[in-house]
């Protein structure tokens, strides 16, 4: 599997490269203590961790909303497809990295779903039939074409989540980052979302503590706690390590045995830390 939307980056460069990321909020609370992460083209990675581990803070660094680029206290390097994140490259990095935030109501702010999906590409200068085609394609990917002219607050939470995904897919990102995508989804909505995500060729980073969802979707998992990467490996092996999960306030749902699912298909297994 090679990333379909990717390829504009330097050849051979990882989709996402994070080195020694350190960050403290203005009140002095340090959240990240040197995070390293390398995600290859087309890889699907789950970023696991308990509440307060720094997952969302980390995510906001990938698009330069937080961190030294945004004028905050921090250090480290972020590169997307070989392009280092700096003030100058901010706009291009934000186009390459699509973030789906936790609350779809924050992402759907225009009168109709179609307007919202068109927002990103229109900001990047697309207009007319080209824009319309892009919007239709993104809506088709998430199966929401017929809801295009609906008002966002009349959609179900599953539909809203997929609409939020479409707003990002319309920008044709190389790396797709999702923050807690399964929170407040019912089982059917969860399955529909995972089907959509599984069909995408894009590099995927899923921030979650929904462990079965991570197991189903992502062959590789990275465990973040107290601002550091504490484990990195095949999701199945990581989730089977009961002592590791326990040490970092993660728990499998009752009755779930990660070893009962087949080993990750297609993707290579453990990776040495960068």
């Amino acid at each position: 599997m090679s990333g379909g939307a990717a390829g504009t980056g330097a050849p051979g460069a990882p989709s996402l490269l994070v080195e020694q990321l350190v960050f403290a909020y203005p009140d002095g609370r340090q959240v990240l203590f040197g995070v390293d992460l390398e995600v290859r083209d087309g890889e699907r990675v789950a970023l696991l961790g308990p509440n307060g581990a720094g997952k969302t803070t980390f995510l906001l660094h990938l698009v330069g909303v937080l961190g030294a680029v945004a004028g905050g206290t921090g250090a480290g390097r972020v590169a997307v497809g070989g392009l280092p994140l700096t003030r100058k490259t901010l706009a291009e990095v934000r186009r390459r990295v699509g973030v789906v935030f936790q609350d779809p109501d924050d992402q759907l702010f225009l009168p109709t779903v179609r307007d919202d999906v068109a927002f990103g590409p229109a900001n990047h200068g697309l207009a007319g039939p080209e824009l319309r085609a892009r919007v239709d394609r993104a809506l088709d990917l998430v199966g929401l074409r017929e809801a295009a002219d609906r008002v966002p607050h009349h959609l179900s939470s599953g539909q809203r989540r997929r609409a939020a995904l479409a707003t990002v897919l319309a920008m044709e990102p190389e790396v797709l980052v999702l923050d807690e995508p399964t929170s407040d989804l019912d089982p059917a909505g969860r399955r529909e979302l995972s089907e959509v995500l599984q069909a995408l060729p894009t590099t995927l980073l899923v921030v979650t503590h929904d462990l079965p969802f991570a197991l189903q979707l992502c062959p590789r998992a990275v465990l973040l706690d107290e601002g550091r990467v504490v484990a990195d490996g095949p999701t199945r092996d990581l989730l089977a390590d009961e002592a590791l999960l326990h040490a970092h306030r993660l728990e499998l749902p009752y009755g779930l045995d990660p070893m009962s699912v087949p080993a990750a298909p297609g993707r290579p297994g453990p990776r040495p830390p960068a």
């Binding site: 935030f101 109501d105 924050d106 900001n123 607050h153």
Partner: protein, 298 residues
């Protein structure tokens, strides 16, 4: 697949004596309790997916581009206001013209009538006018009323009714999104349209959050807000403000990430043809003729 035995036992047991289900009235009958309230409106008309105030009937009025209707409404209202007081035939003609539009839009009469209730405060004011106004008095059913007040009140009532009816027709034939796109077409500043657009989108979210806060308050404080609950209500308003503010920050963040640099892209909309402008303009144009004739006669 057969259902396991422990799952099959899950459905609620039949009402036992003493259980809540067996004595439904004890809770419902207490005044002020949540259950004693009249059924909320949302329950009375379920599953209707209304987008704002729009009542879709697919009539020619609905199909007119929003910018033409948006321009026609204030123009018509201005013509009605220009009719001199006491010129009843002119006001009646304007009313007939407007009723023709209502008929053409095929809106349900009951729904339109219900929405006309927003006029109630104006009606009260118009009814008070003959009592409080000064000048020569006339005797009506044993009440001494001001002649000028009667004339002014009645004129005010009729003009306000026409204006409100026209606004109701506009709101019922145009979706909120189209209204925004129409305002943009009419060259209303983009920032104003954006503010309105956010207001439309997030008023629904805020209403939901308010309901949740109200429920949380009712569960702990018991019943509707009363005077002694004012503190809690004020706290709720504060919490709502903070939530709204935080949401604003998150929305802004999600806009920035998608390449927003300070200008919202225009909402997609189509221009209106000359024929459509003429169709929408016919109502204010006829009203203008009526108003001018009435002024000339007065």
């Amino acid at each position: 697949m057969p259902v396991p035995a422990d799952r099959r036992a899950a459905p609620p047991p039949p009402a036992r004596p003493g259980s809540l289900a067996a004595r439904p009235r004890s809770l419902a009958a207490r005044p002020g309790s949540l259950t004693a309230r009249p059924a909320p409106r949302a329950l009375a008309r379920p599953s209707v997916r209304r987008e704002g105030l729009l009542l879709p009937t697919g009539s020619p009025v609905h199909r007119l581009p929003p910018q033409t209707k948006l321009a026609a409404l204030p123009a018509f209202a201005a013509c009605v206001v220009a009719v001199p007081a006491g010129s009843w035939w002119a006001l009646a003609t304007c009313g007939v013209l407007l009723l023709a539009v209502v008929v053409a839009s095929r809106l349900p009469v009951a729904a339109v009538a219900r929405r006309m209730l927003v006029e109630a405060p104006v009606v009260v004011f118009a009814l008070l006018l003959p009592v409080v106004a000064t000048g020569p008095r006339v005797d009506v059913l044993g009440l001494e009323l001001s002649r000028a007040g009667l004339l002014g009140g009645a004129t005010l009532l009729v003009k306000a009714t026409l204006g409100v009816l026209a606004a109701v027709v506009l709101a019922a034939t145009t979706s909120s999104r189209d209204l925004l796109a129409g305002l943009e077409r009419l060259h209303v500043p983009r920032t104003m349209v954006a503010i309105l657009s956010f207001a439309v989108r997030y008023s629904a979210v805020l209403v939901q959050e308010t309901r949740r806060l109200q429920v949380a308050l009712a569960v702990r404080g018991g019943g509707r807000p009363r005077l002694r609950h004012l503190r809690a209500v004020a706290g709720g308003v504060g919490a709502l403000f903070v939530r709204g503010y935080e949401r604003g920050e998150r929305v802004q963040r999600s806009m920035v990430v998608r390449g927003w640099t300070g200008a919202l892209p225009a909402l997609e909309s189509s221009p209106a043809s000359a024929l459509q402008w003429a169709a929408a303009g016919s109502l204010p144009a006829l009203a203008l003729v009526v108003a001018l004739t009435a002024r000339a006669a007065a």
